[in-house]
Subunit: 227 residues, 2 copies
């Protein structure tokens, strides 16, 4: 595991940056590879895409790739980590400008869908290859995921409290994530609405859906289903 490859000490360490540019040549090259890798994983899945596929699509020799990272797993890890960090970072910035509980949920939905559709391939790789990373890679991604989940949960709890509602915020959050994340299975940019419109429609469904659950309604046995 102790690595002596050039890739090991890069990226976060960035030894002796000869220019003060935000990105070294190494970083830019790696980013390009990550983009090609995202494409391959998107189309064939992580297990289904081989390093040789990746070599072909990125126009670099098989061995040459390993100068930039130490394993296929690390590649997936870098893709997922960068995607998650970016979407959370953007969300945080947007949430700072809005204080109304309902609008904050709408901001969450819009941010998620906008990023999802603008980076559909990376987001599919993030959603679909959810539990393939193990050990430290896996737990680090899981932490980011939990953090994102928690933000949404708190938005819902605040909304619930402000409006005097009573519903299971866990089920609500997970239903919302399901609605939103599922789009990678069906959205075609040419025929389906854009992010803003989708966010409005899903926001309507979701918000009206949870809005009706007034407190003290004792939600049990409202409408019985036959059989």
């Amino acid at each position: 595991m102790a690595s002596t490859s050039p890739a090991a000490s890069r990226l976060s360490a960035r030894p002796r940056a000869q220019r003060v540019l935000p990105e070294s040549r190494f970083d830019r090259r790696l980013a390009k590879i990550l983009l090609h890798a995202t494409n391959e994983f998107y189309e064939k899945g992580y297990e289904g895409a081989s390093m040789r596929d990746l070599s072909r699509s990125s126009g670099m020799s098989l061995a040459g790739l390993y100068y930039y990272f130490e394993s296929k797993e690390k590649l997936l890890y870098l893709i997922q980590k960068h995607t998650f960090q970016t979407i959370v970072e953007r969300l945080r910035a947007r949430l700072q400008e809005v204080s109304d509980p309902e609008q904050r949920i709408r901001v969450f939905i819009l941010n998620h869908l906008e990023y999802f559709l603008a980076n559909q391939k990376a987001m599919k790789v993030l959603s679909h290859e959810d539990d393939v990373l193990k050990n430290s890679f896996g737990s680090e991604i899981a932490t980011l995921k939990r953090e994102y989940y928690r933000i949404c949960l708190e938005l819902l709890d605040q909304f619930q409290q402000a409006k005097g509602l009573e519903f299971s915020s866990r089920i609500a959050v997970l239903s919302l994530f399901g609605m939103m994340n599922w789009i990678y299975t069906w959205h075609h940019p040419r025929v389906d609405a854009d992010a803003k419109e989708l966010a409005r429609q899903m926001g309507d469904i979701f918000l009206r859906g949870i809005h009706a659950a007034k407190k003290g309604k004792a939600a049990k046995k409202k409408t019985a289903v036959p059989n």
Copy 2:
């Protein structure tokens, strides 16, 4: 491709059934293998699970497995086809007993979630390995899927018409499927509600969500989101 293996002519043809029992020994054995395969695909994914994994978990030699089916792909195909057919068949039976448009949607949701939770592993394999089958296998599964989708779409259209509502039923169906299918990523039988309760909650969210979109409301620009 023209197969001479024993498995080729079986199952649907079932030559010379020596007992009139519903299932021959061959069919029962194959069904057992499919069950173990479902488990493996559930845990490691289709590409990630090897035939040797399957051999170990089912307690049969690698070569012995091929007496019952001709390829790994066929195995996935059989699992997905059986799962899809069963859930559609059960749905049809249940829908015959209910005529109220809203209740019919609730029946759809309940049927889906009950089957999903009772057969969580098979349903994950169905949802997660959605586009790995190619050619005739793939298109046959795609047809079943489209059929199931269409049933739900019609339920929504009927509901919409009966209540005088106006919303995109495509987005609504796909949002609903997202909510429901996403559960394979989070549901833990020990901590989460059962199917009936989940169906009630998701049904509430979804139905109230789409119910508010009254006709002629000109749903444009209802609430603007900053940025």
